[in-house]
């Protein structure tokens, strides 16, 4: 297990940040995670708490076990932590009288909305994947879904590494726009 220590800023950090790629990714994505959490909770105090919980979870992992998609992993932890907080509040609220404004997302309808949202996103994702140009779909599936490295995808498709990377980027951009229809 990674040893924890307080760094100069008084925050939890592994003794060697470079030794844990996931913690490094957390540091990189911290500003984006902060906005992500702040945009989904009404309680500002929750933002720091959730970030601290994410850091604690990352640091308590065995660093020898690699995380393939670090960004997805971190945002997924953030979503789960916010959902858990919502559920805990809901349970507490059911047993006592609480002012309505303090309930936040902790109502069962909101939690149900999240489930419906995730189903809709999956439907949109599957539909959007079908509409991608053939090569884009192929390299996206191999790299982002099957977990093959860009190098390996390049070898198996006969494309250059740069071509594969660009196709994957284009596919990711198209899919995001279709899944989150603006």
């Amino acid at each position: 297990m990674t040893k924890l220590a307080m760094n100069e800023a008084g925050r939890l950090a592994p003794k060697s940040e470079e030794s844990d790629p996931l913690f490094h990714a957390f540091r990189v994505l911290e500003p984006a995670l902060r906005r992500f959490i702040a945009g989904r909770t009404r309680n500002n105090a929750d933002v720091d708490d959730v970030l601290q919980d994410i850091a604690a979870r990352v640091l308590s992992r065995d660093p020898a076990v690699a995380v393939e998609n670090k960004s997805a992993f971190l945002f997924s932890i953030a979503s789960n932590l916010m959902r858990d907080r919502g559920r805990r509040r809901l349970v507490r609220c059911q047993g006592e009288h609480v002012a309505l404004e303090s309930v936040e997302i902790a109502d069962s309808a909101a939690l149900q909305d999240q489930i419906v949202d995730s189903r809709q996103r999956m439907q949109r994702f599957l539909a959007a994947l079908d509409t991608l140009p053939e090569k884009e779909r192929e390299v996206f599936v191999r790299h982002r879904m099957d977990g093959h490295t860009l190098l390996r995808v390049a070898e198996s498709t006969g494309l250059s590494y740069t071509q594969v990377r660009k196709l994957v980027e284009q596919a990711m951009a198209r899919l995001a726009r279709k899944v989150w229809k603006d």
Binding site: P31, K70, A72, S118, M122, R165, V168, M172, R177
Partner: protein, 334 residues
């Protein structure tokens, strides 16, 4: 309209930039690029949301991959154990429902498969003089030396590499539940979270370990031995295991020939593999001479390499009619 197209193009650029950053972060963003990422992020507040979307998109993609895997597993089980007609139609209805809703939670239902899925097998072969790096789906890294033939079989419960000829350096991605095994001529090497070299050419069959532990098992039924970093073991012609130190392992990945106290004829056999022209030595006394030397072969021809070796052992170089290069005792002793 033009303005709308401009907006759309700009949005597309923003989405592509977010995708590019996510790919870079997942691959491990170098510390010197962190500042650039933070500056890009801070420039527009909505960019944080684009980053979040790309991260969540990846989560959805992985869920879809798991769903697809579960469906393939179910199809495999169905093929092995064809269900009754009534059951089949029920399954068809279930899948139709799953696809219609796209509900992953139900997709992961209980398509538990105890039988491992068939392995995906890929073969790799390097040309004369080629050194290639290959990354497997589990992030294991393989370096294939010149004239190497390898097949990689990746199953859900094990990873088997069959080294037919040549030399391989492996950095194994740790996964205790999925053993990593290299099958060579007369041996089997099993490793978890380890870096080692396996060789199969010219009577040099065995492994040398640079990190972790490798269990070497001779295929003639002899006892297994555990090798730690700095150790090597070779299968002799008679099938015995000869244990020795591991020195200068894997230098060939950087196109370096690093020779440490080895017979000249053995060195020439190894060096010849990088060229179309064979390097040989006819004189028995010269052949037995020990060589210790390190040099880059990246831009060398066979003749250049022969001259470097010849200088080291005090020999002359002669071109042969068959395009081969012969090292012979120096006419004027050096």
């Amino acid at each position: 309209m033009a303005n709308r197209n401009h907006m759309s193009g700009e949005q597309e650029d923003e989405d592509i930039a977010a995708a590019r950053w996510i790919l870079a972060i997942d691959a491990g963003l170098p510390p010197e690029r962190m500042e650039a990422f933070n500056a890009w992020l801070a420039e527009r507040p909505e960019r944080s949301e684009l980053i979040a979307r790309q991260a969540m998109l990846q989560d959805i993609a992985k869920q879809a991959a798991r769903q697809s895997f579960a469906e393939r597993s179910a199809q495999l089980v169905a093929t092995r154990h064809p269900p009754e007609r009534a059951q089949k139609s029920r399954r068809g209805f279930l899948f139709a429902g799953l696809l219609a809703t796209g509900a992953i939670a139900f997709g992961a239902v209980a398509l538990t498969v105890n039988t491992p899925l068939p392995a995906s097998i890929e073969t790799y072969e390097t040309a004369t003089g080629e050194v290639r790096l290959v990354e497997l789906s589990d992030t294991t890294r393989l370096w294939l030396d010149t004239r190497t033939k390898l097949s990689a079989s990746m199953a859900t419960d094990r990873r088997d590499m069959t080294l037919t000829s040549g030399r391989l350096f492996v950095e194994v991605a740790r996964n205790p539940r999925r053993p990593f095994i290299v099958h060579g001529a007369g041996f089997e090497a099993r490793a978890v979270g380890t870096a080692f070299e396996a060789t199969v050419f010219a009577d040099r069959n065995g492994v040398a370990v640079t990190e972790g532990v490798v269990r070497l098992t001779p295929t003639n039924g002899g006892p297994s031995i555990d090798l730690v970093a700095g150790e090597s073991a070779w299968i002799t012609r008679s099938g015995e295991v000869m244990r020795s130190d591991a020195r200068s392992i894997g230098a060939w990945r950087e196109h370096r020939m690093t020779i440490s106290d080895r017979r000249l004829d053995v060195v020439l056999t190894e060096l010849s593999r990088y060229f179309d022209r064979p390097l040989t030595v006819a004189d028995a006394q010269l052949a037995a001479r020990r060589v210790t030397l390190s040099f880059s072969i990246a831009d060398l021809g066979a003749e250049d390499a022969a001259h470097i070796i010849a200088r080291a052992v005090g020999a002359d170089v002669a071109n042969q009619a068959n395009a081969g290069i012969l090292l012979k005792p120096a006419t004027i002793p050096r």
